[in-house]
Amino acid sequence: MATNDKALSRRRFLRFAAAGLGAASVAGVLAACGAKKSDDAAAGAEATKAPEEGKKANVELTFWWWDGNGQIWADAYNKLNRGATVKFVNTPFADSHDKLLTSFASGTGAPDIASLEIGRIGGFTAKGGLADLKSAPFDGGKYEKDMVKYKWTQGSTTDGRLVAMPWDIGPAGVWYRTDIMEKLGLPSKPEEIEALISHTKGKKWEDFFALSQQVKEKSGGKVKMVADAATDIYGGALRQGGEGYFEGMKLMIEEKATRPAQLAADYRKQGLDANIAWWGADWAAGVKNDAFAGMVIACWMQGGLTKDQPQTIGKWRVVPAPEASYNWGGSFCAIPEQCKNTEMAWDFLTWACCSAEGQNAMFKPTGVFPAYKPAWADPLYDAPQDFFGGQRTFRVWGDIADNVASISRSPYDLQADDIVNAEMAKVMKEGKDPVQAMKDAEAAALKAIEGSTP
């Protein structure tokens, strides 16, 4: 018995030892790769240093964004040898802003260039931590005329400082699939659909409902026009009145959200949407199964669809939304006060956000639409898009973007969003009266922020 035990443990020991050796050798290989990489990087840095005589030493800048495509900017900028190397860090969206906040609270760890999303910008412009891009050493004021107007306002504080440079915008419209529309025997050319539903032809949401009804009837209820009225209808109609629930610091949930909520509730009641929640596996399966013929969303959907639903490339078309143009989402670039190399950080930021070269380097492969208007002069914007079956969509987006109403942001945006969304869920899932729901949301939001001075 005892010997048996010993033998067993010996065998086990050998097995573990072998596993350990294997792991060690893998680690060794990895380490070797790592070493090689950093050697390359060092060589690269050497190479960049060589041609720029007389310039100061190469500094390293960190740039945070929540999309792997940030590397595109880093690579393009680093090739120019302007005296700085940009190191891109992919910070997941869920905690990108939280990380920035933590670095402000602790006084250390902020990047040289940070990106901020529209939904979170209000919380940052109302407080400190970000440098004023209009005062020395920066001179951001001169870009005001080049930027989409509402975006400039959002990046500014109430006392007129500019703390976040407009980067991209999210002009939104109605997307639809030509293949599904054709199969159902419905009009499928952009001009035809535009004539039926777009605000450019004086059409309203009621007209969009009518088209949705046709999709439902022609398919025998199998195909719906959109996935989820709470996102497609409510999300669109709300943002047509300006994104967010505030005017300045005044809470406007009832005024802004009641009609959109009613529209979405009606749409759901008539069975016009597929009742598939956005952003999840169900939604992806819905696209694959042709469960809905379109969506009401912003231009940035192109990137994700290209990656995740390549079978739909070339089948999408886009037309302006019913009732009005609007914007959904978009981001900013900012320089935290902690930044040490302000000169080079500013150089990168202006190259990226305030030059046609930088903006289009990002826009061309990703569809992240520049807020910097001179970038739109590029012939690129007249080119037919394969993703949209040859439609010249970039012009469509540009026309939409130029007609978006001003949008004000507040530090309570996210809180108000969540409170309204919670009430919207009751409307959509439990059939709560939308008018009452928005009354309750307003009361809850007032309670949440009462007694607060930002």
Partner: protein, 323 residues
């Protein structure tokens, strides 16, 4: 044998000398334990004390801190109904998940330990496997299984003519869905702990009981259960601590998106830790959110954990772990 006499002063000096000598003799011991205390005071003690300090302030992390005394606690106890809803959900999920989890784990451990079955190692590993998976991966997997239109669960239910269930969308089903995932992930872990406890019971006791004519039922209730009480106590207390901090699975299943609030419909899946995190980092601004307010939440949670653990200990008679 000469007797030496000491004055009081001399005696004291002698003591001091001995103490110093002792300290000198053990100097390396102090050096070796120092890193722990050093690290603990930086990463453990300081944040803890700072957290208490923070909970008396209103602070968004950027603007200057504002002293508010007990106001954060007063607001939490009197006006913040979302917080109490979150506490209710947390306790609901604790009871709903922990009881089935521990029961199933105990039964599984008893079966695996009993010698009735072969391939023990395989079962042990198989049940433990879900625990190894990261909560994020589990969350993505299950949110796809729970899908309303194309989820696997609803697909199976359709064979039995059962209507589609909105697992993650309806307030009614969200909590059971979270419970299901939690039990799936944690049962294997509890089972391993129970198994370790079962194996530490002296087999002679069982043999003696058999000789005295006890059947399996008697053996389980009269020998296994009493001797397992310290292990069960450990499990319950760690479950209380874990459940009060329940965060990752609810966030993955109902964490909110661009068009939905964290916690899902009617905040049905909003746990206390979620509300705390959202208050600190997401909402951040105002007198009912921010780092100070969230710190106050965390201390309320802390005292709840202490109270629950203490009550369970008391209900269980004396502390059996000290036997």
């Amino acid at each position: 044998m000469a007797t030496t006499t000491f004055t009081v002063a001399e005696q004291k000096a002698q003591d001091r000398r001995t103490r110093r000598k002792e300290a000198k003799r053990n100097v390396w011991a102090y050096v070796f334990v120092a890193p722990f205390f050093f690290l603990y005071s930086i990463f453990g003690l300081f944040p803890l004390v700072y957290g208490v300090w923070l909970s008396f302030h209103q602070w968004d992390g950027i603007s200057p801190m504002k002293w508010v005394g007990f106001l954060n606690y007063i607001k939490l106890f009197t006006v913040d109904d979302v917080w109490w809803q979150a506490i209710y959900n947390t306790v609901w999920l604790f009871v709903g998940a922990t009881i089935p989890q521990l029961l199933i784990a105990l039964i599984l451990a008893f079966i695996i330990n009993s010698g009735y079955i072969r391939f023990k190692d395989f079962f042990r590993a198989a049940y433990f496997m879900p625990f190894v998976a990261s909560a994020v991966a589990v969350g993505i997997l299950f949110s796809s299984l729970f899908g309303l239109q194309y989820g696997m669960f609803n697909f199976f239910l359709s064979f039995f003519g059962i209507d589609k269930i909105d697992w993650l969308g309806s307030a009614l089903w969200l909590k059971p869905s979270i419970v299901l995932v939690t039990v799936w992930q944690w049962t294997g872990y509890s089972m391993i702990i129970f198994l370790a406890g079962l194996q530490s019971i002296n087999p002679e006791l069982y043999e003696a009981a058999r000789v005295d004519g006890a059947d399996t039922n008697d053996v389980f209730w009269k020998i296994t259960m009493p001797l397992m009480r310290p292990v069960i106590l450990f499990q319950v207390v760690t479950s209380i601590i874990g459940a009060m901090q329940n965060f990752d699975i609810p966030v993955m299943l109902a964490g909110g998106t661009q068009s939905s609030a964290p916690g899902g419909t009617d905040h049905a899946g909003l746990t206390a830790m979620m509300q705390l995190y959202w208050s600190a980092f997401k909402y951040n601004t105002g007198s009912k959110s921010g780092f100070g307010y969230a710190s106050a939440m965390s201390f309320i949670l802390f005292f709840m954990i202490v109270t629950f653990s203490y009550l369970y200990n008391r209900a269980n008679g004396r502390n059996l772990t000290e036997d």
